[in-house]
Structures are given as structure tokens and as C-alpha cells.
Symmetry: C2
Subunit: 390 residues, 2 copies
Amino acid sequence: MPARWSPAGPGAAETDEGGRIVTDVTLREVARASGCSVATVSRVLAGTRPVGAETARRVREAAEELGYRPNQVARALRSRSTGTIGLVLPQITNPFFPSLVREVEHALHAEGRAVLLADCDDDPEVEAARIADLLDRQVDALLVIAADGKRSRDAVERAAAHVPLVLLDRVCGPGVADSVATDNATGMALVLDHLVTTGRRRICFAGAAGTGSAAVERLAAYEAEAGALLPHGSGRVELGDFSLEWGRTAVDRILPSRPDAIVCANDLLAIGVLQRLRQLGVDVPGDVAVTGFDDIPMMDLADPALTTVRQPVRALAAEAVHLLGHRLAGRNDGPRRSVRLAPELVVRASSAPSALRAPRGASSAPRAPRVPSVSSAEDTGSTRTPEVEQ
Amino acid sequence: MPARWSPAGPGAAETDEGGRIVTDVTLREVARASGCSVATVSRVLAGTRPVGAETARRVREAAEELGYRPNQVARALRSRSTGTIGLVLPQITNPFFPSLVREVEHALHAEGRAVLLADCDDDPEVEAARIADLLDRQVDALLVIAADGKRSRDAVERAAAHVPLVLLDRVCGPGVADSVATDNATGMALVLDHLVTTGRRRICFAGAAGTGSAAVERLAAYEAEAGALLPHGSGRVELGDFSLEWGRTAVDRILPSRPDAIVCANDLLAIGVLQRLRQLGVDVPGDVAVTGFDDIPMMDLADPALTTVRQPVRALAAEAVHLLGHRLAGRNDGPRRSVRLAPELVVRASSAPSALRAPRGASSAPRAPRVPSVSSAEDTGSTRTPEVEQ
DNA sequence: ATAGTGTGGGAAAACGTTCTCCAAAAATCT
DNA sequence: AGATTTTTGGAGAACGTTTTCCCACACTAT
């Protein structure tokens, strides 16, 4: 080891014969190289206190020369802040989440924070364990997409006692923590409004039976809206889970009641419905309109393209991060905030009025024009442009 | 602050009136409560050295009582290991990645490690910055899905000098770092073999022009295989990018040469191809067969369902983590390993032989039976070929 | 002159672990 | 019995920062 005491020569980082960096440069070494104390170097580099111009220059020079990079772990230990946020989610493979993760990651990175990712496999037990692990790792805060409305609650509540915590996309119980989610009621209202406006009257619902907030709220909203809008009240309701398979079976149960529209609580479910309907020779949207919820990627290329409710993903992420920032800045107290963001209706072929429907065949599939969002709270809205193909 | 010096009463964690935990329990407090030294407590809890039975019991009891949780940051500082792995990827919204991320995350968590996620927006500059940030955060190792075969290289190489680094799914240059990827050549061979076997002869290729390893290797494999298998050598080749849009345009360029099959370098691209073909009234698979690559989610519900090459996602993740473990355990040297895992052909409707094709209409969409993978070398799925790119 | 008032800089104490020494006690060997 | 080795436990030094003191010096205002 010859390079150990090299006096700040222009060799920068010290390497062994294999090219691996052997010694990480520390504050001490920068101090020695620039002829001043560790404290001074820290002050110059962190800018926490003014320091003489000449000294500052020497320090910066030495740091540059040696290729100094502050050790974030040491910094974290001393300053009690890791600059790290835990992101807990049920299943990254759920096609709705990647875009949300992306937006969250970018928003946090823009603030100089990093994201510790924890995938829970849709299991609240695992979720609790992962949360505990993240806390041990001293995350500054947690962003949680709860796996289950009921069974996630305990763990979330306990965690919220330690660090700022924001529930994202799915809430669990009132007052457990800050929360940011899509306004499911508004979304469902948009759908039903659209269907009724385009002449549908026998509107059924395929949903999920779980205790997740999406399942519960969307069902409730359907029942409320349908009860108000439709002559015979709400139509047949079938509850299973959020899967494609369930979408298929739901069709068999719903079809006997001769619906002219099937509202699905979720895009995946809607795809299953679409598949089964085609299999049975039911014409969509001629005989039955189908709608989804979420606008997961590729829904514009289902056959027919799926009318659905687009969640304001970027705005959700931004708002969640904003809330976290608020808690992190001030004292972590004050009342819980619960933010709901209005989604946007995306009308595609699967709900086109029968009159406008083109004959099935070789020619281009008909696409209804996109209607503008009825209530899109902010213009920061969505980047995704399913720029309708025609 | 009354609760400060409470003598290990059964109140466990100390809370203020708001329910927030004020004081995190440290080793010192456990030591005091159990009447022994910090060192001893550490030894008991970490199990680094045998300790008297009675003392151990007292310590464990006190720790339990106080709800002690080791501070991973302090531990990391001292032991120079954070138990954290950086996962760098081009775009989490690329539908191929979520499942890979999931498998990686699970595999790492099973080893008690956590994942720091960095999404680069497909930008090598951003990628370099994110890698640097992760290194500052003292990750134990890096798992990198390179954004670009060429322009990612520098940053990757520099990073590999600091920590163990495994390139995942996309390689960049030989000998830069360990790498684990799908054997694109085998995959392409499976496709062409299948097409030729089912009677296709005028097989064209829609690919990407980039320098990413997937783009390059799949093209090369197509040309090699087609040159060998087909009477007139390989067919028309069109290169753009990996997008759906390019798939659509590629069709317009390829169609004049009257192909009976279009091999796509990627599922997204294949979907675009499918869309445009349908728009133009070309029958798939009657007139033209279409194949993809990757088997991203939902490709079974495209219309027609897409024949494609399924990457061995779980095995890729497992192997990558295994390689990391190897580097982390031993000294971080020895020759670079390059592992290629054989993919699996998934035959669906889009490449059904014309004869077997069911009439378009109401009945169930035809599904060809899945053929078994032609070459899955070992049951771990691993074709361990150090250094080889055939 | 003396007392105030900044200002630039260093020494050293944290932060919560792990780990290296040492010392005492206990067990084993001559 | 003494001479070893083996256990068991404590004191305290790391790890690389940030931050709190405190001192020395140069001014300015009495």
C-alpha cells in the first residue's frame, strides 16, 4: 500500500492494481490536504457557517482534487436524517402502480431524497414486516399504498407514530394518517353520467368484494349514482376480486339480467369482461357498453379500446410528496389531511353509442373522440397521451 | 418530559401525549436496564460472541421490554455495510420491468437486504447521476439495467470499481462488469424455427436501431438465423425504436415486400404492428404471422394473442442476486462472469398456421398449445457461459 | 487605555453501533 | 498446589459526519 500518504498529488482517488478504489476519501483527509481542521472543511462543504474566502478556496480545491464525496451514512447518523423515504406497495406488478412509483420517485429525487422500495405481495403481514424493516433503516418518512383497508391499519398506525406517513391511492380508515387518493365517487359519477347520456339504462356493476378503499368506494359510488340516475335504481351488482378471471365469470352472472352496460370497478376486470363478452358473441359497444377504472397502460389498445377513468397519477404523487414535505419541515403534528383528487373520464370505443358504431370488419376500428375531463383539478395533469389512433 | 428516566417499567416505548414516540431506545438504555455493558448487549443481540446464559436472558428480556430495535444507520457506519442494494433501471413504466423489479426485490429481501430504487427516465446522464448518488449513500452493491449499451458504459465501469455491480437484462460491452441477461440469440432462433416449421418463408424483421444490447443482439440473431434457414436469406429489415408507434410505421415500410411473417424485436413493437395490420385489413395470422419478444403482461389478450419469447424473469433475478452475493462474500475480484439464460417460446394465435386458424367471429379465440422450451439448460434455468456472446 | 462585538477557526463531543483490547473469574492441566 | 487455558464481561476506540463550545484576533465604541 504505497499510495496511503500521498500528499494530495493529482492522482485523485487512490486505487490498487486492480483498479478498485481502496480508500474512500474522508473529511479528515481533505482537512489534512488543505491544512485546516475537519470542522472547517465540513462548514465549507455544507455551507452551514461562513468561512474565510481564502480558506474556503483551499478546502474546495483539496476536496475536488481528492474526489471527496460525503458519506451519507455518517451524515445520517449525526444529523438524524437519512434523506430516504420508504415506499411500500402491495404489488409492483399491478399495472397501475409503475407509473405511480415513477412519479413518486421523480418527485422525491427532485428534493434530493432516495426511495427504499418494499413490495408486499398483497399480504398485510408482509407489509407490516416491511414497514418495520424500513423504520429500522431510519427512513425519514413513509409513503404507503395500503394492501388492505382493514388489515393494514394497525401497522400503518404504529408506523405513523414514528415518522411522517402518507397513505397513497388507498386509504385505510379515517384519521390514521395523511392520505392522498383519487376521488372514486367523482370518477364513478363521470362514468354513469356518460353512460346515461349516451342512452344506456340497464347498467350493471362488476366489482370487488374486498375491504380495500377502491373496492368499497367505487361500489358505494355506483350504488348512489345509479340509484339517483336510473329509473329502476341500480342494476345487478356482482362482487368478486380485481382480477381478469373474475371479470370473465362476472359476465356469466350478469348477462341473464340483460344489461346494456357493465361498469367495472377496475380495468383488469373490464378486460376480463371484454374477453368473455367477445367469446359469447356479445357485441361491444353495440349490445353492451363496458367501462373500466384506472386507465392502466395499453387500455387504449384493448379491443375495443376501453372507456375508463384515468387517475391523476402525477398529481397524486406530487401531492403526497408535498404532504410529506410539510410534515418533515414542521413538527410532525397538526390534524391529519385527507386529499382527494378528481380523475378524468377517457371515452373510447367500448362505450360508443350504438348509433355511431361502425360495422365490424377489416376497416379501422372506430374510436370515439376523447371528451375533455369534466373536472380535472390541475393542469399539471397527465403526461401519458394515448393519442388516439385512427 | 417526564418519561425520560423511567426505570424499565413495563411501559415499553416512551410516548408523548400525541402518541408519537419521542425517544428511540438505544443499546445504552438496554444496557442500563439489564445492568450490564453496551458491549455485552451488542454481543447478545448480534450473537457475535458467546455470552453467559443468565446475562443473555436478562439482556434479551430488557430489550424486549423496552422494544429495542437496532439502528441500522449506526450499524452501517460502524460495520461499513448498509445491507442496501441500489437498483438502477431505465424506466419503471416499461412494462417488462415491473416483474423483474419484483423478483429482484423479493430475492434481495430474502437475504435481509433492502432496495434503493433509481429510475433514470431512459437517460444515461441521469443514470450516471443516480449511480453516483447511490454510491454516496453507501449501497453495498449495484444492480444496473443499463439505459444504453454505449453511453451507460463509463458510469457503470466507474461504479464497478467501487462496489460489486451486476448488469441485468441489458449488457454494455464485454468485461465491464458481471452480467445476467436473456439469451437473445436462442430466443430469436426459437421464433424463426417456429415460423419456418409452420410454413412461413418470407419473414421480415421490425427492430430498433439503438445501441442497447437487446436491439443489437436480436437483430444480429435474426440475420444469422434467417440467413441460414431461409431460401432467399433474411427478409426486409426495418429499424426504428422499441415503441408502439414505430411498430405501426414499420408495417407500412415492410408490407410492400409482401411478407408472410413479421418478427418484432419487442412486444410493444409487435402490438403496434398488430394494430396497423388490422387497420389495413391484413389478416393475422392468415396473411401474416406476427411475433414479439419479452412476453410482457397482457400479451395473451392482444387480438390476436401474441406469440412471443418469454424471458426467464425469476431466474434472471435469482442469478443476478446470486452473483452479487458471490462478490459480496468473497473479495470483489476474479474474472467477470457473463451469464445467459435461455428464454422460452410462447406460441399463441398471432402465429398460428393458416390451416389451423379458426374463423374470426363469435367463438372462442383459438389458442395454439404452448410448446415447451426448446433449450432450458439446467433446472435452475442457467446456461452458465462465462464470457460468451454467441 | 478598557470594554464590547464580531469573525474565522480549532478541539472535541456527540450520533448508536461494532469490535479490539484487557482484566477478572473459572475451569483445565501438570 | 501452581500454571495454564478458557470463559465472561467491561472500557473505550473506532466509523465519518455535524455541531457546540471556546479561543484568538481584529475591529469599534467608550
